[in-house]
């Protein structure tokens, strides 16, 4: 078992790889009453094409990862939730662009709950009947998302930045795409992406680590460990052509999203998290609540507390998105564009502000550590391998020079795109 101690944070991370390739990460929190466990595969909605070994490439319809997540709970004779319920554990699951996770939280019966988690995720059962029923349920879920203006504006700007790419596809897919899902397809995908070597189990909270490891080791023996190599085939991204788009939607005030797509080679490893932290801080220095830029627009009523910036670096996708609710989106666009054009002078002499913001961002990171769910899910574990504690340490190492260098990478050829949702 590997141990990493984070002195300032008083946290210890234990890591072990089981003989079949399952990775186990544990953080003991003896003060807590709860234990939170998450089983994750790095397979998400972006994975629309893959290859097993030297086999021929296979396509996956949009929405399959999410569909499979739903379906994995339903077994031949019962629902996986039932057993969690009997144990008094709260179970759930989610799918995002790059991972699918199954989780539970409990204050009692940790060992049987953990056995159940490992078993139900690694024991697929798909039939024509259950697949057909799920197509109905998810069809409704897709409609529900379509009624959500925040989701609509988010998907709107993603589709402009990455036209016709998996990133432009809703995580749940479309009615048409999920209609093509069959039990065979789900078995194939499960076989590839849910083999032990593709899975990571995180357990955080109140437990006995040796007892857990023993449980995991015994449970894993129930499953065949025929490891095969899986390659995710990445799409050729089309250039973004549209600078501005509008969609009609029944909302009280327009919602607007701006996007800046950053082209470049996909990054891997810790650099992903470092880049993300640097861009987040840089965006804060340029557009944060404490800036004159923000204050001026706030005072004019052009933006309000809904204004938000974010940066995502997910595999080959790298983009800034900016969200606001405003009727004056043209004025806002101009203000953002001006700030981007003069980013160098806007960042000049901000070394002191940077140090303050960095200290505050570290403080925010520390506040996040109260929650076991955050420790498991708010790190970049699935994206770059950096957990939430690593993120705080990486933040501590960040310098003002890093910000300036990053700003050049991000803004040198920046093209601002705009998507508006309005009546």
């Amino acid at each position: 078992m590997l141990e990493k101690y984070y002195k300032q944070l008083k946290e210890k991370v234990l890591t072990e790889t089981m003989p079949d390739g399952l990775k186990v990460v544990m953080v003991e929190k003896p003060d807590y009453h709860k234990t939170f466990a998450v089983l994750t595969t790095d397979y998400g909605s972006l994975d629309e094409k893959y290859q097993v070994g030297q086999g021929s490439p296979k396509k996956i319809p949009a929405g399959t990862a999410h569909f499979l997540e739903h379906k994995l709970f339903e077994k031949e004779n019962e629902d996986a939730f039932t057993r969690f319920g009997q144990l008094g554990a709260d179970a759930n699951a989610f799918t995002n662009a790059y991972q699918t996770s199954y989780l539970f939280s409990t204050t009692q019966h940790v060992v049987p709950a953990l056995q159940h988690l490992l078993q139900f995720v690694q024991t697929p059962y798909f039939s024509d009947k259950t697949v057909a029923k799920e197509q109905g349920i998810i069809g409704q879920e897709i409609q529900m998302y379509e009624d959500d203006p925040n989701w609509a504006v988010y998907m709107g700007i993603l589709s402009m930045m990455y036209p016709e790419s998996p990133m432009a596809h809703d995580i749940a897919g479309t009615q048409q795409s999920i209609a093509t899902i069959t039990p065979e397809l789900l078995y194939d995908v499960h076989h590839a992406f849910y083999q032990p070597s593709q899975l990571t189990l995180q357990v955080i909270g109140h437990f006995d680590k040796l007892e857990l490891l023993e449980t995991i080791s015994q449970t894993q023996q129930l499953f065949a460990s025929n490891s095969s190599s899986v390659t995710r085939l990445t799409p050729n991204l089309q250039p973004a052509v549209n600078l501005s788009d509008t969609r009609q939607f029944n909302i009280s005030r327009p919602k607007v999203a701006f996007g800046i797509r950053i082209n470049g080679k996909p990054l891997r490893g810790t650099i992903v998290t470092k880049r993300t932290l640097a861009v987040d801080l840089m965006l804060d220095l340029l557009f944060g609540e404490q800036t004159d830029w923000y204050q001026k627009l706030y005072n004019k009523g052009i933006i309000d507390s809904e204004f938000d910036t974010s940066f995502d670096l997910i595999r080959e996708y790298q983009f800034i998105s900016i969200f606001a609710e405003t009727t004056a989106y043209q004025a806002l666009e101009k203000a953002i564009q001006t700030q981007i054009n003069q980013y160098r002078s806007a960042l000049k002499n901000q070394a002191h502000n940077f140090e303050q913001l960095k200290r505050a961002t570290i403080g925010e990171g520390i506040q996040r550590l109260n929650s076991l769910e955050n420790i498991a899910l708010r790190g970049d574990d699935a994206l770059s391998g950096a957990n939430l504690f690593d993120k705080i340490e990486l933040l501590q190492d960040l310098t003002f020079d890093d910000i300036l260098v990053t700003a050049d990478i991000i803004f040198q050829d920046a093209v601002l795109q705009r998507f508006v949702l309005q009546k």
């Binding site: 379509e146 004159d292 303050q356 505050a360 925010e364 520390i366 076991l372």
Partner: protein, 420 residues
């Protein structure tokens, strides 16, 4: 829970713990919830979030929270039955985990004193610019409620459910009333709040009692004559169901919402049976509504029930296709009838109880839940120990569940439908 009386009507509870990496200070200003004050108090929460004499602009406030190591300073409004709460909260990293943080607690108390008790005011009114801007922000927020279909449907349901106007509007206020507020009138509400409200303070973290007590004394919150507060609300049964439908453009799904009368006397032991009954009916993923209506019959994508202990109602809400509303409602009533007849699975009841106990114990891992529980104990003057709570949940029998379900009576229904 140890309660310090700082002054008449001013209470302090300290929750010392080293479990967390944060410090928390929360202040609850409590007054009767009246249509005439809710909107102004809601706007006050906006004003107090962004300005004070020492921090005139929102930028100054933002800069100050940065200086305080990324502290989270927030104001919000809540309702518990007939009381309205303006709550000011602050969360900071615990000094142990940051460099040079030894003065953090004192600085936080100073900052809160400025924000709560030394506002940016001119001649008996708030600063005009700040006021105009925050008023508009609140109007925007209230207008956008209708963008969230589920929130909108529930607010419409509330409107037709309660007999008393004070209970009909949202704790965030009413848009037309907000439009009429002036800087002078809201300042009057502010002075009223500062002088007359019940003030409950909770501090959580690795702190020492005497230091906190002395810091709170430093706020000099004056003594007050306690307002007459009656948090719980109960309403008489109506002879007939009040019904309303509304069609909206640009929505795909319908929302079906029902308000059921559930008259359990406040603080009565029967509340434990009501809690289990609600979880069994629609308050958990193991519930009858979720398992039968959503999972088995595939009638609704989302469906849940929520017991409103403070007002004596049980809410049921479902998101579904418009052509399935009638069928779904029929099935909901069948499920309720089954509960009333004691027709449910004992094994599911056992699971539900475990899940409720799990949720209860899990709260101990969340500082915000701990603070919430402390405020609720201060408000209701009632405290149930962990041992007693678990014992009472475990003691609920199937008969208890059926009996409390028999109290359910439909009072109102609101349906939101897509325009044809």
């Amino acid at each position: 829970m140890k309660k310090y009386r700082i002054n008449s009507g001013v209470n302090l509870v300290i929750l010392p713990t080293t479990q967390f990496k944060t410090l928390h200070i929360a202040v609850d200003f409590v007054a009767p919830a009246l249509t005439s004050n809710i909107s102004a108090r809601s706007l006050l929460s906006y004003l107090m979030a962004v300005s004070a004499r020492r921090y005139p602009t929102q930028q100054d406030v933002a800069q100050k929270t940065i200086d305080l190591y990324g502290a989270q300073y927030q104001t919000d409004v809540y309702r518990f039955g007939q009381t309205h709460h303006l709550r000011v909260t602050m969360q900071l990293p615990a000094p142990d985990y940051v460099s040079d943080g030894s003065n953090l607690l004192v600085s936080a108390f100073d900052f809160l004193k400025d924000m709560m008790f030394d506002p940016l005011v001119g001649e008996q009114k708030f600063d005009d610019d700040v006021f105009a801007k925050e008023k508009q922000s609140l109007i925007n927020e209230l207008e956008s409620i209708s963008d969230d279909k589920s929130r909108y449907a529930i607010s419409q349901l509330r409107n037709i459910t309660y007999d008393v106007p004070n209970l009909q509007s949202s704790s965030a206020g009413d848009i037309d009333l907000v439009k009429n507020l002036t800087s002078e009138s809201v300042y009057t509400t502010y002075k009223n709040m500062i002088t007359n409200d019940l003030v409950n303070i909770v501090v959580l973290g690795d702190v020492n009692d005497s230091e906190v007590a002395s810091l709170v004394s430093g706020w000099s919150v004056p003594a007050r004559r306690l307002p007459f507060l009656q948090p719980f609300y109960r309403q008489a049964l109506r002879p007939a169901t009040v019904e309303k439908e509304k069609h909206l453009q640009d929505i795909n799904q319908a929302m079906l919402t029902l308000a059921m009368h559930l008259d359990v006397p406040p603080l009565d032991k029967q509340r434990f049976a009501a809690m289990v009954m609600n979880a069994l009916l629609g308050g958990s993923p193991l519930s009858k509504l979720f398992m039968n209506v959503r999972e088995k019959a595939s009638l609704a994508y989302s469906i849940y029930s929520k017991w409103q202990y403070d007002t004596g109602f049980l809410l049921i809400a479902a998101g579904l296709d418009a052509d399935k509303v009638a069928q779904t409602e029929k099935m909901i009533h069948q499920e309720i009838l089954a509960m009333q007849n004691g027709d449910f699975d004992e094994k599911v009841v056992a699971s539900i109880k475990k899940s409720l106990i799990n949720d209860y114990l899990s709260q101990q891992d969340s500082p915000n839940s701990q603070i919430e529980i402390a405020f609720s104990r201060l408000l209701t003057g009632s405290e149930t120990s962990e041992f007693e709570w678990i014992k009472q949940v475990q003691a609920v029998t199937s008969n208890d569940i059926a009996l409390v379900a028999q109290k359910l009576q439909i009072q109102s229904r609101f349906i939101l439908l897509p325009k044809e």
